[in-house]
């Protein structure tokens, strides 16, 4: 578990101008989840992920990882040990251009000690695992962007880290390659029981892989929750705009609707997605139901916006709630 308590970080641009990159950040990242951090440019998300392995040291507050109370207070040697338990991948891949794929991947071991035969075996296994079979002796400039990031991922995993930090891992990639890389991260997370922290400005990325999301705005986390809850019930204006970008624009639709009756948002938990609750509801009660919006979350929960009209319109909510549907007035 990674916990941040009241973390502050300020950058001094000049003597008079300062930027509060992190402005009282408190956050918990659960083990074995993919935790997305999203925000606009300058929201502090990159600074946040970089404090987790102390590429940036925070000014105030505590960051606890692996049971250390505050990683800022570790000595140099312990900080290096901490970093070896976390892998990191970057937006621009940051491969060593003068080294082959194999040597790039082995490099984190090589900076610590002499290589053994077993290290090579392990590197080849990882190369196969990330889908780079046959590329061990290629140089980075011979690879495509997606392949470069696969090398980055393999290199991050060579030390068997418990945490994988991803700083905009797909921002330099096309949408299709992005999808493949994200699928790879997701698969490796399950295989190696990783805790993944992923920073992005792209809501599609969040929707594709993240279990939990934190929305950052002006150095502060303004909203946190499971991806399904964020999609169903975004509260902060920034979050509302972000979820709109990926087709969850029911708040907009709800605002524009100008019809008699009730408007409500529904969320159908997984076990209900096979039931025909809306039609049974219409059959049982004297109401008309107009579906204004419907979509499915990454965890296959259904989200719907409906307009209810009729003499028994007020009974719709209790009826559906009894079946297990989550309802929010829109």
């Amino acid at each position: 578990m990674i916990t941040l308590k009241h973390v502050y970080k300020q950058f001094d641009i000049s003597k008079k101008r300062h930027i509060k990159a992190l402005n009282d950040v408190s956050l918990t990242i659960q083990d074995n989840t993919i935790h997305g951090i999203i925000g606009l440019s300058g929201a502090g998300k990159s600074t946040l992920i970089r404090t987790l392995n102390q590429l940036e040291t925070h000014d105030e507050g505590e960051i606890s990882v692996f049971g250390y109370q505050d990683i800022k207070r570790l000595n140099k040697e312990s900080t290096r040990m901490l970093r070896r338990r976390m892998g990191m991948i970057f937006q621009s891949f940051n491969l060593l251009e003068s080294k082959t794929v194999l040597n790039n991947i082995l490099f984190p071991i090589r900076v610590q000690r002499k290589l053994h035969q077993a290290d090579y075996q392990k590197a080849y296994d990882i190369i196969n695992d990330v889908g780079l079979k046959g590329y061990a002796s290629s140089y980075p400039h011979q690879l495509s962007g997606g392949q470069k990031q696969r090398v980055g991922i393999a290199r991050a995993l060579i030390n068997d880290p418990e945490i994988l930090l991803c700083d905009e891992p797909t921002s330099a990639l096309d949408p299709l390659t992005t999808k493949q890389i994200l699928a790879l991260i997701k698969r490796l997370k399950h295989k190696h029981h990783l805790t993944v922290v992923l920073v992005t400005h792209d809501m599609h990325v969040i929707k594709a892989v993240c279990d939990e999301v934190t929305v950052m705005h002006e150095g502060m986390p303004v909203e946190s929750g499971t991806i399904d809850n964020i999609l169903f019930n975004p509260t902060h204006p920034i979050t509302k705009e972000l979820v709109q970008l990926i087709g969850f624009n029911m708040h907009d639709v709800a605002k524009k609707i100008n019809k008699p009756g009730l408007v409500m948002s529904l969320k159908f938990p997984k076990h209900l997605t096979g039931e025909s609750l809306i039609s049974t509801c219409i059959n049982k009660l004297d109401v008309e139901i107009n579906i204004l919006f419907a979509n499915v979350t990454p965890n296959t929960e259904g989200i719907m916006l409906i307009n209810v009209n009729g003499s028994e319109q007020n009974q719709v909510k209790p009826y559906l709630e009894k079946q297990g549907v989550v309802i929010k007035d829109a």
Partner: protein, 215 residues
């Protein structure tokens, strides 16, 4: 035949001065350049005072005209080499003149990919020494070699100036025979030999860069 011997000797002296100075400049320029990079604001261990000091030395070293540098260094040269005449006596001035020049090129080369590479190393848990010796320098090989090639060519130019005041070599030949005795042909041949030497250095530099660049 006498002429050939004369050119041969002068050429050898120029090559000797250039080669020795280039090798020593490479070593010390690299060290100074790495220190400049490490202590610079974007370096691994920014240190304003140390950087300001090193940077001042480097800038001053680069801004003294070479001819004046030779004269300034005369007592030092006499102390180290034992004489102020001949190719060896030119070495201290050549080296001290070239080190700051190369050091700046090293600093620039390292800064080019500096932040991303050093951060990558830090994220692996590498020490600063490892980051410099195993990441920064190997990854900047091509720029570092191009830099020493340019420096070496500049050194050839310096040797001619040194030659004019008694260091020997092609510059000395062009000045003593060509200018003082008004033999235009000597000047032209000396010039052609200098051009040939510079082209050769450039060629060697390019070949080494090519060897070190993966393809």
């Amino acid at each position: 035949m006498h002429d050939f011997d004369m050119y041969f000797k002068a050429f050898n002296e120029t090559v000797y001065m250039t080669l020795i100075s280039t090798i020593i400049t490479f070593v010390f320029g690299l060290v100074l350049g790495v220190l400049l990079y490490v202590t610079s604001a974007k370096g691994l261990k920014p240190n304003k005072q140390v950087y300001a000091f090193l940077s001042a030395i480097t800038s001053i070293g680069r801004s003294i005209p070479f001819l004046i540098l030779i004269v300034l260094l005369l007592p030092f040269t006499r102390f180290i080499i034992g004489t102020i005449l001949g190719p060896s006596a030119a070495l201290p001035a050549l080296i001290i003149g070239a080190i700051p020049f190369y050091a700046r090129l090293v600093e620039l080369a390292l800064l080019e990919k500096g932040k991303t590479l050093s951060e990558t190393g830090v994220s692996f848990g590498a020490t600063n020494t490892t980051i410099i010796t195993r990441i920064m320098i190997p990854e900047s090989k091509a720029s570092l070699i191009r830099g020493i090639t340019v420096t070496s060519i500049a050194i050839v130019g310096y040797t001619s100036i040194a030659g004019a005041i008694g260091a020997g070599g092609l510059g000395n030949l062009a000045y003593l025979y060509g200018y003082a005795r008004n033999r235009q042909d000597v000047t032209i041949i000396a010039t052609l030999l200098i051009i040939a030497l510079i082209l050769l250095i450039q060629l060697i530099g390019d070949l080494i860069v090519k060897r070190f660049t993966p393809n």
